[in-house]
Each structure stands twice: as C-alpha cells, then as structure tokens.
Symmetry: C2
Subunit: 351 residues, 2 copies
C-alpha cells in the first residue's frame, strides 16, 4: 500500500476489513500525517527507502560522540485526553518528556519515533495525535524520523489509545555531566513547571473523578489543567549553560524530587530544598490535598512544581537565574551523614 511516511508503517491488506481493521481510515490518517509533515522537515533527515525505516545524517561524527536513547510513554494522562477528546497535546507531552530525559545527560536531541496504538482507527484523532508529536519535534528541532500506527481491535477499547516514543540524541563524552564534581555549597536551580507533567495521573484520576473535569478551576477547567503540556526544558537549560557551569541535572518525573534528584547525586552529598522558593501549580496542590498525601508522599509522588533541577557552583547561581525567567534558586547541596536521606525538602511556612 506504500502508505508509509518516513518509516511510518501500518498493518494493511484488503482482507483486514473482515477482521475489523479499517484500511481506508489508515490511508486517511497517513494523508493527514503527510500533510502535517510537509510543513517542516529536519534538515538532516534523508529520504526514506521504501518507508521501512527513516534515515538521518549524523551531524557531528566524532570518536568522542555518544548516542543517547530513551523510551517513554504518556502514562494514564492518555485516559484524560481520551475522555476529553483532546488529542493534540499528548504528543507534545511525550516529545518534551523525552527531550528532558536525555537532557539530563546533556544530550542534544536528534530524532524521535512514535508508536500510536488504537482500538479503532479514527483518522482525524490519529492525525491530531501525530500532529502534536510533529509540533513538539519542530519546536525542539528534532526530526520525526518515523513511527508506527497500530490498529488493534480487542486490545484497546473504542476511543482508547496509547502513545509511546523513543528519542535519540547525542553528546560528546567530555560534555557528560560530572556528577562527581558536585560539592557542598553548590546551588540547586529549579525550573518551574505548570502541572503534573506526565506523572501522577493514576492518582489524579482516582481523587478527581471525570465528572468534575469540566468544572472551572484555576482560570480554566480541571480537565485543561490536568492536560497542561509537559514543558521542554531544553532552551532554558542551554541558556543557563551559556553563562554558568552545570554539574548535574535531574528531570523530575515519577518519584518526585525525593527519587529523581538522587539519581545523579554522588555519595556524601545531600540536596536540601526550601519549598518556599517556588510555587506549586494549583492542580498539583489539588491532587496532593485530595489524596491527603503526607509531606513525604507529596515529594515522592508529584513534581510539586519543580520540573527540572540543575546543580551549579554557588558563584554561578546569579547569572544562571538571570538567564532563564522560569528558574529559581530552590536549594543547596549539603553534606550527607551516615543514614541521612539524599534529599530533604523543608516545607514552606504555613500562612
């Protein structure tokens, strides 16, 4: 059927119709993908050969170059999007999430591939999902090298879908973060985020029932706040790196500050956060409140408003903060004694 787009495949074949797989919807979806992709293509992307795979000219071949890969999904944020029939944001969540994950290694993203699975293919819906993927790829200057749209009646309920993806980036060995260089007294800079990002949705859906999602909340609806797009922190991080030395970074995904910051912290140091230094998005506070999370549970489950952290020498903190409007000085590196936790969050003073 030659319906591939830059390596994008679909099951096909006339006889699929009798098995409940809609070929015409597939063709319509691919037409929408093509129309969207016609607007922008990464300059390093090469013409695909028959659509089995996508080709990308490696920009800086160098014996010091390391490829960096990460795969992720959108989690049950997908069920919020499906319920609200809002299909153009989850692709952006996914790409931005992946960009941030490899940014922790200081990698610059090169290309992305998505996997969209549906119970019954609705071309318009699939087109919107992939449109969101494409939009975020363009904004992050990442090639959308390919993807797979799979129609699987029997696995996904009507109206349900899943979306996952893989990003590949590159970093030179000498530019990998030096977590061993983190020292007592270093500053921790946090990048403010706008909502739950892509974690905590199983909990959020449990404590805020779907019947409330159209209710007004924080200047929008609960549903809109739940679907706030996971930001890409690539540009703010690069802006800070132009003026400051960044020793280590963490993307605050599932596990919150308590479990993500230690992932790039050396032994013997402790990250001490002051929660009064940043604000908690209203939707995040609402989930924490309704779920009656303890202080510890809050910072182990939700991002609580900090989407990404960077550790810089104390003397570089001021210039780093000036380089990014969404950045705040959120903590300090201290010494970690035997038996002490790797992360401590001092609660904000209650008003």
């Amino acid at each position: 059927m030659n319906e591939e787009l830059q390596g994008r495949g679909r099951e096909s074949g006339d006889a699929y119709a009798q098995a409940g797989v809609d070929i015409s919807a597939g063709n319509a979806a691919v037409a929408l993908y093509r129309a969207r992709a016609a607007g922008w293509r990464h300059p390093n992307q090469l013409d695909a050969l028959g659509g089995f795979a996508g080709l990308f000219a490696y920009p800086t071949p160098d014996a010091e170059s390391v490829l960096v890969g990460s795969a992720d999904g959108v989690g049950t944020k997908i069920l919020v999007a499906a319920a609200l029939r809002r299909y153009d944001t989850v692709g952006q969540d996914l790409v931005n999430h992946c960009v941030n994950d490899i940014l922790v290694t200081n990698a610059t993203p090169l290309f992305f591939l998505d996997y969209l699975a549906v119970g019954a293919l609705d071309a318009e819906m699939a087109g919107q999902v992939v449109s969101g993927v494409h939009e975020a790829c363009r904004r992050n200057n990442v090639a959308l090298l390919g993807g797979e749209t799979a129609e699987m009646p029997g696995l996904y309920a009507p109206g349900h879908f899943d979306l996952a993806g893989t990003i590949v980036g590159t970093v030179r060995r000498a530019e990998l973060p030096q977590v061993e260089s983190v020292s007592v007294g270093d500053a921790i800079i946090g990048l403010q985020t706008n909502g739950l990002q892509t974690n905590g949705y199983s909990l959020a859906r449990k404590v805020i029932p779907e019947s409330e999602w159209s209710a007004r909340f924080d200047g929008a609806t609960i549903g809109e706040r739940l679907l706030a797009i996971h930001p890409s922190f690539f540009e703010p991080v690069r802006a800070m790196q132009r003026v400051a030395r960044v020793k280590a970074m963490a993307h605050i995904t599932g596990g919150g500050l308590l479990e993500n910051v230690p992932r790039t912290l050396r032994k013997g140091v402790q990250a001490v956060f002051d929660a009064s230094a940043w604000s908690v998005p209203a939707i995040v506070a609402e989930v924490a409140h309704r779920a009656q999370l303890t202080h510890e549970e809050c910072y182990r489950t939700l991002n609580m408003g900090v989407g990404f952290t960077l550790i810089v020498p104390a003397e570089d903190a001021a210039v780093a903060l000036a380089a990014s409007s969404g950045a705040a000085l959120v903590g300090r590196i201290g010494a970690r004694g035997e038996g002490e936790p790797a992360v401590v969050v001092h609660p904000r003073a209650t008003a």
Copy 2:
C-alpha cells in the same frame, strides 16, 4: 526509587498504591530485568547516568555514516501470546522484525529500546517479555539501551499487555541499496519464513477461534504455530552479501509481496514471482484457506512463506543461494509496461 535499568523507567511513588499501581511488582520486575541483563551487555553500551537515558558509543563515526531508525509493535500477535500465557517469544518477534526493517536499508543495528504497557504489572510476566527482548538483542548483537514499563490500570484489561520498540542502526551512504540499478533479468531471492511473522493476526484470530489453539496442528499446536518466532534475516542477508551484489531488499510485512516488494522497486520494472519456488507454512495456508482469501488477497495480506526478498544480478544468484540454506530463487525482474502491476505472483500448479 532508582529502579531504572539502563534507562528503563517506571512510574513510582508510595502514593500510587492507592491508585492501583503496584510498586512492589515494579521492583520485582526490575530485579528480573537486571538479572537478565547481567548475563550479556553490548560492548559499546556505557554506564547510564541516573537511568534517565541509555548511552551508546558510536562505533564508526564517519561523515558518510547515516543513522537509521524504525519503530514497530507486535500487533495483535500480542493477544495470542496473552491468551496462551506465553510471554517469552513476543520480545523476539519485535526485535527481529525491527532488525529486518532497517536491514532493508542495509543498516547494521546498534541499539534497541522497548515499551511494555500492562494493565496490572505481573513481575514474572514482564520479566519474561523483557527476557525475550534481551535474548533477541543478544542474538542480533544489539544493545538493549533502555525501555519503559508502564502500568496503566484502566487502559489495558487484566492479563493484556502491549509491546512496541524502536531500533537504531547505521549504514554508510555508499552502502545504501541502489534501487535504480535494478534491471530486467535480475534474480529475486526469497528467504523462507516459518509462519505469519508479525502480520495477519487480526485475521488469523477471527478465522481460528481461541478454542482451537490447543488443537494439534502441523506437529505442534495451532497456538504454537501462531506464535512461531519472526526470524531475523540479518545473518543470511550478510552471508549472501559477502558473495553477491544485492541491489534492493524488502521485508515482507503487512501487505505481503504485493505491497512490500514495490516499496524498493524503481519505475519500469516488475517483480514476477513463481509461487512453486517456495513452500507456504501450514499455519499460513490454514489462515488463507479458512479466510477464503483470493489469490490476490493472499499475497496482499500474508507473507505466504517469503519473509524477505533480495534482488541480485542473475549471474550472482547461484553463489547467493549457496550462501544461505533458507534461500530460494523465487522470481525475476521483468519489464513493467504502462498499467501493469509492480508485482505479479504466478500461482503454484495445483497437484
């Protein structure tokens, strides 16, 4: 929770328990992943930094190098595996499928990342799925650079799961297949396959109900034949390339010979197959028979026994065939006139 394995993430957080996400099962699954991965690791794989992403030392940096990426899923073969509780084969299907997809561009695979989504995480089951992924990576000499295991109650039914993945490989520009060089008289070599590979399962499940899957069939059970592992054609292709010039290749996925071979065929030529030159696996014949597929539908829906095709100069055919035991001369390149199809399959003589 620091439960990552080479970039393998999971949603975590104590408060997830109240939302139906089982953290202890997650830890157990990760322990199984680690145990499996301890047995073999690709030499170019570097230590991951905090588990947000996997790192891979690019082996042959060269301005002529092109990266090749492809994403795919296992399709509804997953539902057969889930019903039969046979979890160790679909990972192999997926990796081998992806290896073959990029092999069409002549790429050598470098690394792979998987995405496993489940309704309720069963550590033993997830461990077996990822074990299959790891096994096929090892056999294909591909680094398993990372992956995501997502537990999504509400999206997947209990016992159901989905599995997708992305492969990245490399090829030098000069070694990309030259489809323009395909000429009338060239030979088409086919690699025999063992079953449906990973396409046609929506149809197969419709015409062979689950109640029959334990019935004896072709020296095994119907279920076992349905789950025959999609072969990797990397080694046979490389063996042939050592002795023969290969001009173009196709992986026979959904769409069969009729839709896949034209994907790398230049204008003006026609691939003419002689179906008596190879055998149809019994399970494939059974599906075609029960679905009452026409000749055209057979070759547009199922692989009909040919898993991969290579176009070589006629004078190279004999040495190529001698280099691989599973290879057969299955067709010739002819001239394609105006209005003629790109692929013709002459039916086998009926006995």
